[in-house]
Symmetry: C2
Subunit: 506 residues, 2 copies
């Protein structure tokens, strides 16, 4: 039996570009995990890890033109967008180097022996250690920032965990280039190259999450694929944490006052956000509650204008294009659903953006219109028109978990609905926006990119400094003589780390 | 169909004491969860929560004599131990009140708008919010500290989550008393009583973890029971975090130098630790690697003395007694296993402590002796005698995850094996002890009570301040006008909370 070839395909033509690799067999996955596991000790040194992450950023930038060319050829995302994404990916690697340097993520707590307690406290010192080999399942829609050199890989390496990445089949050539960059960066900083290993193939991905030496997994992708891997992770003899970002509708509520104030601006902003990257952002606003009546009509009209002006675009691959077309067909066929701009096929290889409208009352209880409450990947959104505020509350209470929820409220004067709506939106998502658009996720310490299921499978983030927390576990040393303690926990604090000593920040 | 009665049983006689309650039907579980869910808003106020936890501690102490009497009658743990456990449980409630007051657990991060970034950062403010209703599965072996008023309940309430507790069938009367204390404490501090609701029954426990309005679960108990509930939590349409403490062998390694230095002391200390509470601690040292030769022989002799001097004891219930007797019988029957003090039945209702010895070499590879590497609940431990250090490493590499791992090393002079052994023990457990015994878990900020599976099902702790983290999820507010922000995140910091602003601790 010969190995299954992995082809790079041009989504603009549907034609194969080149054979990039072969799919990994079960034995190859086993070898990859063992190799990664065997070099985990090399990642124990924080200084080396920070240097490695910075070298990776530098090499990524050096190889930028070559990588962007390959990524554009495989994903059709365009050089401008990919140039920005590469810069963001490099910045992310550097941001995690800073996190490693600072060491606050170690969450060091020291409680000295205290005989005055009942029962007495022994000397206790806690910090966090890496879990072990992390499996990363790369996303299709960000071939850099959420793929091989992306946030999952960067945060896992920052934590001190070797990574085995399962490449996304949508951009295997880009994946190979990026893996090579990461491995060269390791070598350049004196680390074994096997701290990052790339594998291809669907079956390889399943083998990976089941491997006894894999300690945790990160995933960005579809609900179906993510849930299957989550289930496999939970069904292992020893289950492992599975941090998956699966799907999100990203609801938006436009208050009556907001619509009265600036419906044209909201309609235009929504149109730009939902069509960004051919509607392939996980934070695309996919469901909007807007008032009926004149102000809401003006919003729809402005959206119609913006969306009509959006040219057709190439989706990441033909499978996604087919799913998009099937999804919009199914939704548009529902009774009382209208399509002011019909989303659908452009040319043989493109899609054109559009949106649907529906009376919000039809979504207040279970029924056939529930399909409108499921994410449809691609440049389409749903505008549910409401007559009264209780319709908004009723529909919101039926939504699944989300990455984001957005409130469009009046910017001048008091908006009587704003506070209550913000309270209603908070349980639905991990990021709440006011008068903004959810596409675009700043890589900042206060960022949170996650939310109630199916947005993510755990209350964790895949973007921002705290993404590192997913790959660590606490360990406490009790009554351990100073010379036997890890340097991070020694009394004299030789590494000058932030810590809490006897309850006080030191 | 009449409701199944719940009886309180006296383990000293095996006789029923009284009918305490009836098992909850599916409808009753649904009502309980909905009631708890409906009052979650009342827990939003941190000041009220802290007052509630303190009132619970006070009422627990006031009802102490009554509760201890019931608990002793149902568990045979004795008034002395239960008096200490009640004090610890009250202290734990107060410790979580302090955690709530301090507010560091909110993990507040604020990043101001920053146009100098590429792309620009919007204003981002993150803190943590309660997950929702938490299901707590009470343990048998700590009828207070890990049961109805225990760490899971206290930490979930501290996080702002209402709790539905599934009572352990081993102490239903104690559970009812404690639930009543917690509900009275809620009422006294102006909170609805339904912030804590108690249900009984095995089926009720299964219903509970499947209920759509339950957002997370905490469990302390057996591997079999915990895994079944973990699986049910993972199989839900929307999976929830399941923080279970399932089982632990708590290995101890005695170095040659330690044995040479103080084998009598180590043998006596081990005997005291493994028989504490009739061997029913989750941190009981259940597996000891000790050197062969004279020093090791003296250790075994000292252990023989201590264990022989330990009177027989009553286990928590007859089912556990049966499991203990079957477990020691199976293990003692293995070839080359000896029992210097035979563990087994005392009188009709008691058990007597004992221990087994085995050559460590027999455990270095898979085989029938693997039963010795599984926890046996009750007053028994296994001494594996080793000839060389590589036998120790080989056996350690075969152990499952543990709550604790202990090194007994020389206290005077250099112990050449100590550093390498500590490195080998760290991957095995969440708490590493040097020259101590693992029974006894201080409720301190630096404590960690958890470990690799099956010690716990997640990298979290059920003891100490950070236990609160299990019941929270982050949420970030983006570009939200100050008056719409929760007070915790407002610019002026009206609640005077610790936070990180633009990367700096403020």
């Amino acid at each position: 039996m010969s190995a299954a070839p992995v082809w790079s395909v041009d989504p603009r033509s549907g034609k194969p570009r080149e054979q990039v690799a072969v799919e990994a067999t079960a034995e190859e996955v086993d070898r990859a995990v063992r190799a990664a596991h065997s070099v985990r000790g090399a990642l124990a040194d924080r200084t080396a890890r920070a240097a490695f992450l910075r070298a990776a950023a530098e090499l990524l930038e050096e190889s930028g033109p070559h990588i962007i060319e390959a990524a554009d050829a495989e994903t059709a995302l365009g050089p401008a967008r990919l140039t920005g994404e590469l810069a963001r990916t490099a910045a992310q690697l550097r941001a995690f180097a800073e996190v490693v340097d600072e060491g606050a993520y170690l969450d060091i707590h020291i409680d000295h022996e205290d005989g005055s307690r009942t029962p007495p406290w022994p000397d206790l010192r806690r910090y966090k250690i890496p879990l072990g080999v992390v499996a990363v399942y790369a996303a299709s829609n960000f071939p850099l920032a959420f793929s091989v050199p992306g946030g999952d890989t960067a945060s896992a390496l920052a934590a001190g965990c070797p990574v085995v990445v399962k490449a996304h089949p949508g951009h295997p050539a880009t994946s190979e280039l990026c893996a090579s960059v990461l491995r060269r960066a390791a070598a350049r900083t004196g680390l074994p190259e096997d701290v990052v290993i790339l594998v291809h193939g669907f079956d390889a991905g399943v083998e990976l999450v089941r491997h006894p030496l894999v300690s945790a997994a990160g995933f960005t992708g579809s609900v179906r694929g993510g849930r299957a891997l989550f289930d496999a992770a939970a069904a292992r003899p020893a289950p492992i944490p599975f941090h998956g970002e699966l799907g999100s509708l990203n609801p938006v509520v436009v208050t009556a006052a907001a619509a009265a104030e600036r419906s044209e601006q909201i309609g235009a902003g929504l149109g730009a956000s939902m069509t960004l990257g051919v509607g392939q952002f996980c934070t695309k606003p996919g469901f909007v509650l807007a008032p009926s009546g004149d102000a809401g009509d003006r919003l729809v009209k402005a959206l119609t204008g913006t969306v009509s002006d959006t040219g057709s675009g190439v989706m990441l691959d033909h499978r996604m294009r087919d799913a998009f077309l099937a999804g919009v067909r199914e939704r548009a066929a529902l009774p009382d659903v209208e399509a002011p701009v019909t989303p659908g096929a452009g040319s043989e290889h493109t899609v054109s953006a559009g949106f649907l409208t529906v009376p919000a009352a039809l979504l207040a209880a279970e029924g056939p219109h529930d399909a409108l409450l499921e994410e449809c990947f691609g440049p389409v959104t749903v505008i549910a028109r409401y007559d009264a505020e209780d319709e908004v509350t009723a529909v919101l209470s039926r939504l699944p978990g989300n990455l984001t929820a957005t409130l469009q409220t009046a910017t001048e004067g008091d908006d009587p609905e704003a506070a209550a709506l913000l309270t209603a939106l908070t349980p639905l998502a991990g990021r709440i926006l006011v008068n903004g658009w959810p596409t675009g996720v700043a890589v900042a310490p206060a960022q949170h990119h996650g939310g109630p299921y199916p947005a993510t499978t755990s209350p964790s983030t895949s973007v921002g400094a705290t993404a590192i927390e997913r790959w660590l576990r606490p360990v406490t040393y009790q009554s351990t003589p100073d010379p036997l303690l890890p340097p991070e926990l020694r009394e004299a604090n030789p590494l000058d780390l932030p810590r809490r000593v006897d309850g006080r920040r030191a």
